[in-house]
């Protein structure tokens, strides 16, 4: 086990103001990046009592959706290069999106290019069905993920 925190002193950003969507009955209600962002912005960081939004791990711009093809691509930026929590964050994102979207959406989760030392292996791990399923079988990991998703500590 690692001793102490991996990133002991992260930079915390202000939360962005939530803009209530206008109640227009005729507007196009297709899935857009903001939808997805609203679901994932409050996921807690595995290490700190801050949300991914506050740590600037995610932003609305880093999410792209293609509703026709049913594809979602999320690119996140770990706070530091050697963050071993990157995979946990990715796992959280995957679990959360699985809960919030119908199963036909194909979700790709990647770390932002150049933001992680083991970029390739992390990406590979996060998008490998078998490995994700195996990770979620692990009770310790599962608990960590659930804590991040449902914690009200923020």
């Amino acid at each position: 086990m690692t001793l102490g925190l991996i990133n002991a002193n992260p930079v915390v950003h202000a939360k962005k103001e939530r803009i209530a969507r206008t109640e227009d009955p005729h507007c196009d209600d297709a899935v857009d990046p903001l939808d997805i962002y609203d679901f994932v912005r409050d996921i807690r960081d595995p290490e700190h009592p801050y949300s991914l939004e506050q740590l600037s791990v995610l932003s609305e711009e880093s999410i792209t959706v293609d509703e026709k093809l049913g594809r979602i691509l999320i690119t996140f930026t770990p706070t530091i290069q050697h963050c071993s929590m990157a995979t946990v964050i990715g796992l959280c994102l995957r679990v959360k999106l699985k809960e919030c979207f119908p199963p036909y959406f194909k979700v790709d989760i990647k770390v932002a290019p150049g933001s992680h030392a083991n970029e390739e292996s992390v990406n590979k791990q996060l998008n490998d069905k078998e490995r994700v399923a195996a990770a979620l079988e692990n009770p310790n990991l599962r608990q960590l993920v659930d804590e991040c998703l449902y914690s009200s500590e923020l």
Partner: protein
């Protein structure tokens, strides 16, 4: 006397440290009760306890002393003789030295000290002894938190109750207290220490006394707590708020002027700190201390104070980041708390020592530089943010200084007004105010914004000074005050300068700030109370002209237009408040008349909606203006109506609708607020009738439904707000018009048998119903609908006939009028009264025995006549023998529904008969199938024909139960019996339910469910909850039955809301839990309801609520729900998807392996 053995065991139990806290408390209570009831004397108790009080075992001794002390606490209101008190306090005083058993001694001293004189209290000498013992024996800071708190409470109590005894101790006590409080950290204790210092300072006010020599030390102890800062985020520790503590410290700071040499430098130093809360606190403390310390002591700090204050004001006005926030066209600065506090302090110091501070302000270099370089702030857009901030700060300083007093206002004007005027390019005009040297002041060179702004601030401040905040005060202000004279001499040119901002041609956005201050400036000039600063009439009128011309011409410039209107409204209400005859005249002449003239139908300069907005806003400023404006509005309405009547001009129909809506929705309700204008609506109604009477020739063919609706609404509101007498006159007027000019009346006045003979021809008359007749009858119905119950209706019989004939032609207002009549007629008539009046019984006889109903022989309505009374014959009569009569039966049902509503609301039992009629209509399909028909071959066709009848019978329940805007409500004086809906619900639901069960035709069931849905969706939830268990299965059936048809989507939604009401309510949960299985499967069906998004959303919300039910009930349904909800994740509407995510998570977590947070 109680048996000693009895209470000694209580003592033992209390002293025994191994007994539980509850036991100890119980023993304490038991002994206290004995003492209170005189079953035991204190003397006897003490004697018995001797061993516990004196033993060398310190644990037992401590418990023993504590017991005695706690008992004294319980006896606070029981008289105790002096000798006992004397010996007790002596004992406790001595025990203060016993540090091992200190708690008891402290509690005991405190209990005795707090006693009131009537129950025997400690003498001064004894108190001094306690104080001395405290000072000698207690090392407060070495004790625990609770003991420290007790010590401080003891000291506080001593200071509070025995100040004289303590003052005699002199230096000692001050020193002792200093020592005790030094280094305290607990907030609770701190609050006590702050209060102790405050009290101490109060008792040693002498500048040469003992406190004086310790003031420095004492303040050193206190000063380090400033500013109070809690590290906890919530700002609260043990129920103690930061603000409370901070206030206590402030009181301590300000307790004596002796602290002044130490406090002021400290506060000034902290003012320059970077912590905002420290700044705010410093400013608050300074404001408070300034008053307490007095002008003499503060004078020497004046300069330092001014420079820090100036810094605070200059740096604390932060520019607003976005222009969107309100007010959008202000200077763009938001005052934060620091600035607010700083300005309060500024006001405080000027009030205290105006000469000194004003000279500081006037002589201030920064301020003067800004003023002298004011010309550089020319264009608002070009001023840098930093300079804007500076300008704003200067404006604030000028404003606050001028607001403070007359003298300060004079000084400000003397020093700063002339340079500002110079910068604006204005110069003194001669006293007559007629010839302006700057007559041709033009905006060719734009106004200097900086000067404009500062000028506005000064004007606003001096108006505030005379008028106060909002109310006109009777301050007698000499007209010869310097600033008055100066202002007067510049008045004309100032108004010109302000006005020039109104005629900007450039892009409105860049001019926002100019417009804002220009309009506001004009408003201020126009609203100076004339008694002390008479703005010349010509200037006042000029201002009004300028503003009104903006209103009439520049309506495309939203901001300018809006703010001008606001200014005019302000001016109007100011004039209305303070009686200024001359100004009121000008205002009426220029503004009101102009606006009224706008209303003439051939004026097309402005859009009508804007006209109406102006009209109404100006009208609200005063009663007189309102009257004038209402007249104008009425004139416009009648002129327009004439256009419609005579020329059939459809275009003016549209504007008439707008005018009428404004009249009934805005103007009439505002009369209620103003009051005293009851005549106006009456006149309006009379005029409408007269106009109709006079314009016999109608040329418009197509009745404008909307226009008719608008004029009916206006008529209803007008009549509704009339008194009884006026209503009587009105109804007579209306009836005379009706009887003289409609053919309908003649028709029904003629022998009724004639109609009977005509029989089915009545419905052919539908086409002959002329437009004018419909108009008149609708208006007549509106009058009837809005009558008060006390108003008598003449010729009731004829009127009833008229309405019944028109009703059968499908005229709904006639039905509503009948309902209103029935609702309001008196039950019994006094024999003394005129025979012309009818009672309810008579009217019902007329209505239900009328040949009109029965002329269509076997119609179902026959039952109401009281002849059918539910017998077999009645049922047989339900058969529809004539297809043609169907056309009449539907309007008849509608009519019955409204009449039934009238009866239902007053609680009349006849409504039951009417309900049974509807029911028999609903069941008529079943009859058609079961009973052999005369024309057997027509089964299918008759079935088709019955459907609309059934549908209208089902809808009749909606009419019965729902609240109507059009009639039978409080506004139109309906008689409403309390809880009538609940009553009806409980009678009709069992019948409907049993009919549903009995019926075997799906169509009948479908219709019955519709009726059921109407009834439950308008019943108050509380009534439904009591029946929830029985109702839930039926509601679910109803939902599944109705959800097939798109036409029923609103009904579905209403029923679903009832269901969700049951789900959310605590009382309904039991019933829900029993039926969880079927409810959930029904809700799952509705998740995919295709016709209405909100139904899907509500169904998912209901499912979410279901997840709170007992685990065992819902667990088996979990997978089913999850499967259904995950389909909803793909819903086309976002709101549904989001609810689905929430619901899914709730259901997933009831059994997930993971922890639920």
């Amino acid at each position: 006397m109680a048996d000693p053995s009895h209470w000694i065991k209580h003592i033992e139990s209390f002293v025994n440290s191994s007994s539980s806290q509850a036991q100890q408390g119980a023993s304490l209570d038991a002994i206290a009760t004995l003492l209170k009831n005189d079953m035991l004397t204190i003397e006897a108790l003490v004697r018995e306890m001797e061993m516990y009080l004196t033993t060398t075992d310190s644990v037992i001794r401590a418990r023993g002393i504590l017991l005695l002390a706690e008992l004294l606490n319980c006896l606070a209101s029981k008289p105790i003789d002096d000798a006992t008190i004397c010996s007790l306090i002596g004992f406790f005083t001595e025990r203060l030295a016993d540090w091992k058993a200190l708690r008891g001694a402290l509690v005991g001293c405190l209990a005795l000290m707090r006693r009131k004189s009537i129950v025997g209290m400690v003498t001064g000498n004894e108190a001094r002894a306690v104080a001395q013992s405290c000072l000698q024996n207690l090392q407060v800071q070495s004790l625990g938190q609770l003991d420290r708190k007790l010590c401080f409470e003891l000291l506080e109590c001593l200071l509070d109750h025995y100040p004289d005894a303590l003052v005699a101790l002199g230096d000692n006590i001050v020193y002792g207290i200093c020592e005790a409080i030094d280094g305290e950290k607990d907030p609770q204790c701190l609050r006590l220490t702050f209060h102790i210092v405050e009290l101490l300072a109060r008792f040693f006010p002498d500048p040469l006394g003992p406190l004086a020599s310790f003031a420095g030390d004492l303040f050193e102890i206190l000063g380090c707590y400033f500013p109070i800062h809690f590290t906890h985020a919530k700002g609260e520790v043990d129920g103690l708020k930061r603000d409370e503590l901070s206030r206590a410290l402030m009181l301590a700071f300000a307790s004596t002027p002796l602290f002044e040499p130490f406090a002021i430098p400290l506060l000034l130093e902290k003012l320059s700190s970077s912590l905002p809360s420290a700044k705010v606190d410093s400013l608050k403390y300074l404001s408070y201390c300034t008053v307490k310390y007095g002008a003499d002591r503060m004078a020497k700090h004046a300069e330092a104070l001014w420079s820090s204050l100036k810094d605070a004001i200059y740096t604390s006005s932060h520019p607003i980041l976005s222009l969107k926030s309100e007010p959008p066209y202000d200077m763009g600065f938001q005052e934060n708390e620091i600035a607010t506090e700083a300005l309060i302090l500024l006001r405080e110091v000027i009030l205290q020592n105006d000469g000194l501070f004003l000279s500081l302000i006037v002589g201030d270099e920064d301020l003067n530089t800004t003023i002298s370089s004011i010309t550089s702030f020319k264009n608002f857009e070009d001023i840098s943010a930093q300079n804007k901030q500076k300008l704003h700060a200067v404006g604030q300083i000028l404003s606050v200084s001028a607001k403070t007093s007359m003298a300060s206002c004079n000084k400000m004007f003397e020093n700063f007004f002339p340079p500002l005027m110079d910068a604006l390019g204005l110069s003194v005009e001669n006293s007559s105010g007629l010839s302006h040297p700057v007559e041709d002041y033009s905006l060719s060179d734009q106004l200097h914004f900086g000067a404009l702004y500062l000028c506005f601030e000064l004007l606003a401040a001096c108006r505030y000074l005379v008028v106060g905040s909002g109310e006109v005060t009777s301050i007698t202000v000499s007209v010869h005050e310097t600033w008055c004279c100066m202002l007067q001499s510049f008045c004309g040119s100032l108004s010109k300068a302000f006005s020039s901002t109104l005629v900007t041609s450039a892009d409105e956005n860049t001019q926002k700030a100019y417009i804002h201050f220009g309009v506001k400036g004009l408003q201020i000039l126009a609203t100076f109370p004339g008694s002390f600063f008479p703005v010349p009439k010509s200037i006042f009128e000029n201002i009004l002209m300028n503003l009104i011309s903006v209103i009439t011409l520049d309506f495309s410039k939203t901001l300018l237009w809006k703010s001008s209107l606001k200014a005019l409204v302000e001016i109007g209400s100011f004039i209305d408040k303070c009686d200024e005859y001359e100004k009121a005249q000008s205002f009426e002449g220029i503004v009101v008349e102009r606006i009224v003239s706008l209303m003439s139908p051939d004026d097309f300069t402005m859009p009508l909606t804007l006209k109406l907005e102006v009209l109404f806003d100006i009208g609200t400023t005063g009663q007189n203006f309102m009257l004038r404006i209402v007249k104008g509005l009425e004139k416009a309405i009648f002129a327009n109506l004439l256009e419609v009547y005579v020329h059939g001009n459809l275009k003016s129909a549209e504007s008439t609708i707008q005018l009428l809506e404004c009249y009934s929705n805005k103007v009439l309700p505002s009369f209620h607020k103003i009051g005293g204008l009851a005549d106006v609506p009456f006149q309006f109604a009379v005029n409408v009738w007269e106009q109709i009477e006079n314009s016999m020739a109608y040329s418009f063919r197509f009745p404008e439904k909307e226009l008719l609706g608008a004029i009916m609404a206006a008529m209803k509101f007008a009549v509704g707000s009339c008194s009884e007498e006026s209503q009587s006159i009105l109804i007579q007027k209306a009836f005379s018009v009706l009887s003289s000019s409609t053919s309908v009346l003649k028709e029904s006045m003629s022998d009724t048998t004639g109609i009977e003979a005509e029989g089915l021809q009545v419905n052919h008359n539908l086409d002959r119903f002329s437009c004018r007749d419909e108009w008149i009858i609708s208006l007549f119905a509106s009058v009837i609908i809005a009558l008060r119950p006390q108003t008598q209706i003449p010729n009731l019989k004829v009127i009833l006939h008229v309405f019944m004939t028109t009703l059968l032609r499908g005229h709904v207002p006639a039905a509503q009028a009948l309902g209103s009549i029935i609702n309001k007629l008196p039950l019994k008539i006094n024999a003394m009264e005129v025979s012309n009046n009818s009672s309810l019984e008579e009217a019902m006889d007329i209505i239900f025995n009328s040949s009109l109903w029965s002329s269509h022989d076997n119609g179902p309505l026959w039952r109401c006549c009281g002849m059918g009374d539910g017998s077999e014959a009645g049922l047989n009569s339900l058969r529809i023998s004539n297809v043609n009569s169907m056309l009449l039966q539907i309007p008849a049902i509608v009519g019955l529904a409204w009449m039934g509503k009238g009866l239902l609301m007053r609680g009349h039992e006849k409504v039951k008969d009417i309900t049974m009629t509807f029911l028999s209509c609903l069941l008529s399909d079943g009859d058609a199938q079961t009973l052999p028909l005369k024309q057997g071959s027509l089964i299918d066709s008759s079935k088709q024909d019955v459907l609309p009848l059934m549908k209208s019978a089902a809808d009749a329940f909606h009419v019965l139960m729902s609240d109507s805007e059009a009639c039978l409500n409080r506004k139109f004086h309906a008689i409403i019996r309390p809880l009538y809906k609940q009553r009806y619900f409980s009678t009709v639901i069992p019948i409907l339910v049993s009919s549903v069960v009995k019926s075997n035709s799906s169509i009948t069931r479908f219709m019955l469910y519709q009726a059921f849905a109407h009834v439950i969706s308008d019943t108050p939830l509380s009534a439904i909850l009591s029946e929830a268990k029985k109702l839930i299965p039926i509601i679910l059936d109803c939902l599944s039955m109705l959800s097939e048809d798109i036409l029923n989507k609103d009904i579905i939604y209403n029923v679903l809301l009832v269901l969700s009401g049951i789900l959310m309510d605590r009382n309904g949960q039991e019933a829900v839990a029993e039926n969880a299985h079927i409810i959930i499967s029904c809700l799952i069906g509705l998740i995919s309801y295709p016709y209405m998004m909100i139904v899907r959303e509500t169904a998912i919300q209901c499912l979410l609520a279901m997840s709170q039910l007992p685990h065992a009930r819902i667990y088996p349904l979990r997978t089913q729900v999850l499967r259904a909800v995950s389909k909803a994740l793909d819903d086309p509407r976002r709101a549904v998807r989001q609810e689905a995510v929430r619901c899914r998570q709730a259901w997933a977590s009831i059994a997930s392996r993971s922890l639920n947070f």
